[in-house]
């Protein structure tokens, strides 16, 4: 299965992946118009630490997904290697936030949860964070 992988050596900490992720969720054509003046809630985020270390973190689409197995409503499911959320079933209990070892599930303003679904509904086969990463620190490939 293709997944998103990151190589922190190449990450510049520019946060562009976060904006591409938020942009992908809007379904709009123009990025600046879509995001201007809005607080973004990306499903990928950059961690930064000492010594200029930075890297992006997004859903690992785990083989044994604790978020899916622990979901109390059955809103999270995994099909064809992709973990998705059915927001109409989610009640916003955040058991998945409690379960994910990587911290990749984010609450939304609507009181449910959101997560990376690899842009499968929105794009051309490559997640937007990957396509938009200037330094190829984020890749989408088989390993």
């Amino acid at each position: 299965m293709k997944r998103v992988y990151v190589n922190e050596k190449w990450c510049l900490g520019c946060h562009l992946c976060e904006y591409y992720c938020a942009f992908a969720a809007t379904g709009e054509k123009d990025m600046s118009r879509a995001l201007q003046g809005r607080t973004i809630h990306p499903r990928i985020h950059i961690e930064e630490g000492r010594d200029d270390v930075s890297f992006a973190v997004s859903c690992r689409h785990c083989t044994e997904p604790l978020c899916v197995k622990g979901c109390i409503s059955g809103a999270l499911s995994k099909d064809d290697g992709v973990i998705r959320v059915d927001k109409t079933k989610c009640v916003g209990c955040y058991t998945c936030v409690l379960s994910c070892p990587y911290g990749c599930i984010v609450p939304t303003e609507d009181g449910v949860i959101d997560k990376c679904e690899l842009c499968l509904q929105t794009t051309e086969g490559t997640p937007r964070c990957v396509a938009g990463c200037l330094n190829r620190a984020i890749v989408y490939e088989e390993r």
Binding site: N7, K69, V91, C93, G103, R143
Partner: protein, 422 residues
Amino acid sequence: MNAYKYVIIGNSAAAVGCVEGIRKIDETGSVLIISNEPHHTYGRPLISYLLLGKTDLERIKYRPADWYGRNKVDTKLGVAVTAIDAAAHTVTLEDGGVVTYEKLLAATGSNPFVPPMSGLDTVKKQFTFQTLDSAVALGEAIDETSRVLIIGAGLIGLKCAEGIIDRVKSIAFVDMADRVLPSILDAEASAIIRTRCEEAGISFVLGDSVKEFSGTHAVTNNGAELDFDVLVLAVGVRPNISLVKEAGGSCGRAVTVDEYSATSLPDVYAAGDCTEYKNAVTGDVMVMAILPNAYLQGETAGINMAGVRYAFTKGIPCNAIGFFGKHILSGGSYTGETYFTFDGTSYRKLFYTAERLNGFILIGDKHPPDGEIPAFDRAGIYTNMIRDGVSLKDVDFDAVAVRPGLIAFPKETRREYLGEER
């Protein structure tokens, strides 16, 4: 057909986990689910959201409508099992039917515990709150004039209150404990939730218990008098152990299972709220009746029932639950030294030793002010540290205590987490 390769008693998270575990290994072996509840599998903890209107009878389904068919599962729903004969490999049903199994899972859950209370039989409108049917019945019994008295200020009682508060006149609690949610919160955290509930209009009589009910009136041991229209009994639950126990299986407070979800009886497995098993933090055998563990135990049982040895050893108590916009994410054991910060909104308490993180309590607002991160953000990183017993020698604890992040882990660990298939 009255002979199945796999028979599962129960139709909730552990049963679903068992089927999905079986089907990882055995795509065709016959499976029968028997449940005394007549419904399609539903998310049991969602019954309060049903009353709240945040889910409905369709969306509450724990798995899609075609799940049984796709997994080739037969069902007998609305039929109770009355006995297990482990030697004969049969279960007997209340309608007199007998079903033969090769491997059996007892996922019998728990039942509300109603202690003997004087005059309880004089209360006409009394309910428990654990099943879909009980929630629907409570929903039909209340209206905007109802004064509701709830006995037990634990997870079930408080969640019930949140579910009905906009549909009733008033809600009062009586609990023997001196604080709310004593099973998952320390005193300081408990006070935050109590205050939020009081702001929502709920009143509490704590450290007290009802001495006598008479119709729509209750008197407590400390002399408080309460008038009510509807009574909800949410004192606690008892694991349903009688089937396994009467068949000769080892039980403590609950059915004893090992890391393979096996009971002491041959070919009989058990999973979920009816079981007790080892807490991975403390090593103590205990009941940890939470849905994620029920699923994981059930899945483990299914894989083993299908003939593959597979162990579940990482069970810890943990809870994610919200009340009136305050969310609690907690886990592990509240022992050791503490790291504690509280700014009036965000509550963060970690329990640790030099070697490892033992537990945590995080409380934050569902909707913090713009730009602020809720206290429970990325809490799963803590859960993972506890579950996997991550050595704090390898972690920048000062950083991870302030905010969970993978940056606190060694570079090599990050490379595994983010650069390898997980």
